[in-house]
């Protein structure tokens, strides 16, 4: 809570009397509060600021969501991993230079939904309807799963919703530390707490406001000791001179603290971003060098590293992770079937077919 730099709280009039609203407002203390008819008034305040993307992180909007659950759209032309997203919170207090939410969410403030009973109904419906296979769901697509947790307690709520639903895995993906409340409950087998990882130099330069590497790994280790399964996301992998040594040190740090057996999955993804993010990111992060690299414009309109470089990055990461017997837990995020095929052949040594390449399907 202390780390949150919320300068104003906006309350959707329709949830003024909701019990969860009272709970949140008490925790938010004496910050300025304004009751509004809808999000447009908040967006107006954000839009008129010199840095709307940055400003959006300092306004908290308490509201209700019309619906929460949807399939992750992945990226056109890419090999999807079948993820489902739960849009419980929107936007993120952290300020990563490469984050697509800067553009994707427009002027959306930090948004917290209070109609959790509806989310529970949606989840119950999905739990009762989906017939087979493992379904992964998570809140980390349009928000950081844990960044607002000290305020909202949403993770605790979700974990209890998923308890006993063995065919459904809940992933809480973050760049923050571990909320203490998650250490006060019995961790279900189907809940995975995961952290995005990058070398400390990249975190310091490109991931403003986030927990440092050691803090994230300490949180993961503590979660693992408490009985949670954990996951890691090397995403985005940033290429620069000396990247390999830096990532190798990160991987060594991971396995110094966390036994491979408790790791549910590790994803790899290289830097990619929609074309319209480029001018905004250059303006907001003039000191960042990540946009000065060689890119190709892929068919879906995103900038990516050229395929030979992406595959080499993945290959080198596989080599490093194989040293800790973690290769069976790897998958790629937002990559083409062509890159996937080659990657699968390398890590699975022909044991698995491309149709079932994901660690949670093994």
């Amino acid at each position: 809570m202390d780390g949150l730099q919320i300068k104003k709280v906006w309350l959707d009039r329709t949830v003024e009397r909701a019990p969860r609203t009272r709970f949140l407002l008490e925790k938010l203390g004496d910050r300025p509060l304004e009751i509004v008819e809808n999000v447009e008034a908040v967006k107006r305040a954000i839009r008129l600021s010199p840095d709307p993307a940055g400003e959006s992180k300092r306004h908290l909007f308490i509201t209700r969501q019309k619906s929460f659950i949807r399939p992750c759209p992945c990226s056109p032309g890419c090999f999807g991993c079948g993820y489902w997203t739960i849009d419980l919170d929107l936007n993120c207090p952290f300020d990563c230079s490469y984050c697509i939410l800067q553009k994707y969410l427009g002027f959306q403030p930090l948004t917290v939904a209070v109609n959790l009973e509806q989310l529970r109904l949606e989840l119950d419906k999905i739990f009762s309807q989906r017939a087979s296979g493992i379904i992964r769901m998570g809140t980390g697509e349009l928000a950081d799963s844990l960044a607002l947790d000290e305020l909202t307690g949403h993770s605790y709520f979700l974990i209890e919703c998923f308890r006993g639903q063995e065919r459904f895995q809940l992933e809480l993906k973050s760049k923050s530390s571990l909320p203490r409340s998650l250490l006060e409950i019995d961790p279900p087998e189907n809940v995975v707490l995961s952290w995005s990882l990058n070398p400390p130099e990249v975190i310091a330069r490109e991931e403003k406001g986030t927990a440092g590497l050691e803090e994230r790994l300490g949180a993961a280790a503590e979660a693992a000791r408490h009985g949670y399964r954990v996951g890691f996301h090397f995403d985005p992998i940033i290429h620069y001179t000396g990247w390999r040594q830096d990532y190798e040190r990160v991987i060594e740090s991971v396995f110094r603290q966390i036994p491979v057996e408790v790791i549910a999955w590790i994803s790899l993804g290289s830097l990619r971003f929609p074309a319209d993010l480029l001018p905004l990111a250059r303006r907001r992060f003039p000191e960042s060098r990540i946009y000065d690299h060689e890119f190709i414009r892929s068919q879906e309109g995103k900038y990516r590293y050229p395929r030979p470089l992406r595959q080499w990055l993945y290959q080198e990461m596989v080599v490093m992770l194989s040293g800790f017997q973690a290769e069976g837990r790897l998958y790629l995020c937002m990559e083409s079937a062509e890159v996937w095929r080659e990657f699968s052949e390398k890590i699975k040594k022909g044991r698995l077919k491309t149709a079932f390449p994901f660690p949670w399907q093994c």
């Binding site: 839009r47 060098r289 000065d292 892929s298 030979p308």
Partner: protein, 326 residues
């Protein structure tokens, strides 16, 4: 809001109009041949709009008609005079909306309109929320700032932006250069299409960021200097060479592999067989195309391919297509 009751019709002498006072001007289209021909034949029929400031008529709308009238040596022309105590902001709103209904504005004109509203003390928030959407620009403070920056450019640069209908992103990129560099870039790209202008500017921007060198140093690089010199002399066909060299410099990995691929394909010395591949290297397949206009040529092409498969180094091509590395 001004209505038609606030205007009176009159005929004014062209020489009386204070054309030095351009406070209400934000349009940049010059009088074209068609308008000149029309005015020459039948004179100016549609009244210009004027208002008196410091006892002289100042033009509110009708800059092209005035230009044509002068060229055709007209003495008088019809005008609607805005009467009463009307402040400059209200008059400019009139000038703006009279033009708004007639055609889309260029980015340069939008920037000048934003500047006028700002100078006539329309509140910045109102410009952002009311005017920018009308101009089909995102209603953001940054966009207003960008428009004000663009409007402050030299008139001859604004003319280039206007003629080539620049997008805000191109203007923003250009403004990241120093004033001297901007002037040089404008000179370089003046005669190119907007897409070419944008690509040249983007590539120079990227190259400066990637290499840490300045524009002057880069322009003297042997790979770029020849094409730059030719473009500065107005030889627009040099743009392809310049863009090729810039793309190569900004894409060292792809350029290296593409060059090696092209050399290997050439080395195969195929006759009637075209070998192609995805130059972005996203796909790793080769595409072969046989070219023949008669049966004999087809047989030759197939034989050329068969011979090459026996003796040529096709594996090298596939190695390159599967290349992984920095």
């Amino acid at each position: 809001m001004l209505g038609k009751d606030a205007m009176v019709y009159k005929v004014i002498r062209l020489a009386d109009i204070n054309q030095e006072d351009r406070r209400f001007r934000f349009t940049l289209n010059p009088a074209d041949r068609r308008l000149l021909n029309s005015v020459r034949e039948i004179g100016v029929l549609q009244p210009v709009i004027i208002i008196f400031r410091e006892n002289r008529p100042v033009l509110v709308d009708g800059w092209r008609r005035i230009e044509a009238a002068r060229a055709c040596r007209l003495i008088e022309l019809p005008a609607l005079e805005v009467t009463g105590q009307t402040d400059d902001l209200a008059v400019f709103l009139l000038a703006f909306f009279v033009n708004y209904g007639q055609r889309a504005f260029s980015l340069a004109e939008k920037s000048l309109a934003a500047r006028k509203f700002f100078e006539f003390r329309l509140h910045p928030d109102e410009i952002i929320e009311r005017i920018l959407p009308i101009l089909e620009l995102p209603p953001e403070r940054r966009m207003l700032e960008l428009m004000l920056e663009v409007s402050a450019l030299d008139e001859k640069f604004l003319a280039i932006i206007h003629r080539r209908d620049w997008k805000p992103s191109t203007a923003e990129l250009l403004l990241s250069f120093s004033p001297a560099e901007r002037a040089w870039l404008f000179l370089l790209v003046e005669r190119l299409s907007h897409n070419q202008q944008r690509e040249v500017i983007e590539n120079f921007f990227s190259l400066i960021r990637r290499t840490g060198r300045n524009l002057e140093e880069l322009a003297m690089e042997p790979e770029l200097a020849g094409a730059v010199d030719r473009l500065l002399k107005g030889e627009t066909d040099a743009v392809d060479r310049l863009l090729g060299a810039l793309r190569k410099a900004n894409s060292p990995l792809l350029s290296r592999v593409n060059k090696a691929m092209d050399e290997e394909i050439k080395r195969l010395s195929l006759s009637g067989v075209k070998v192609d591949y995805d130059r972005s290297l996203e796909k790793r397949g080769l595409r072969l195309e046989l070219e023949a206009s008669e049966f004999r040529e087809l047989k030759q092409a197939v034989k050329s391919l068969a011979d090459s498969l026996e003796t040529g180094d096709w594996n090298r091509l596939f190695e390159l297509l599967h290349y992984e590395g920095e």
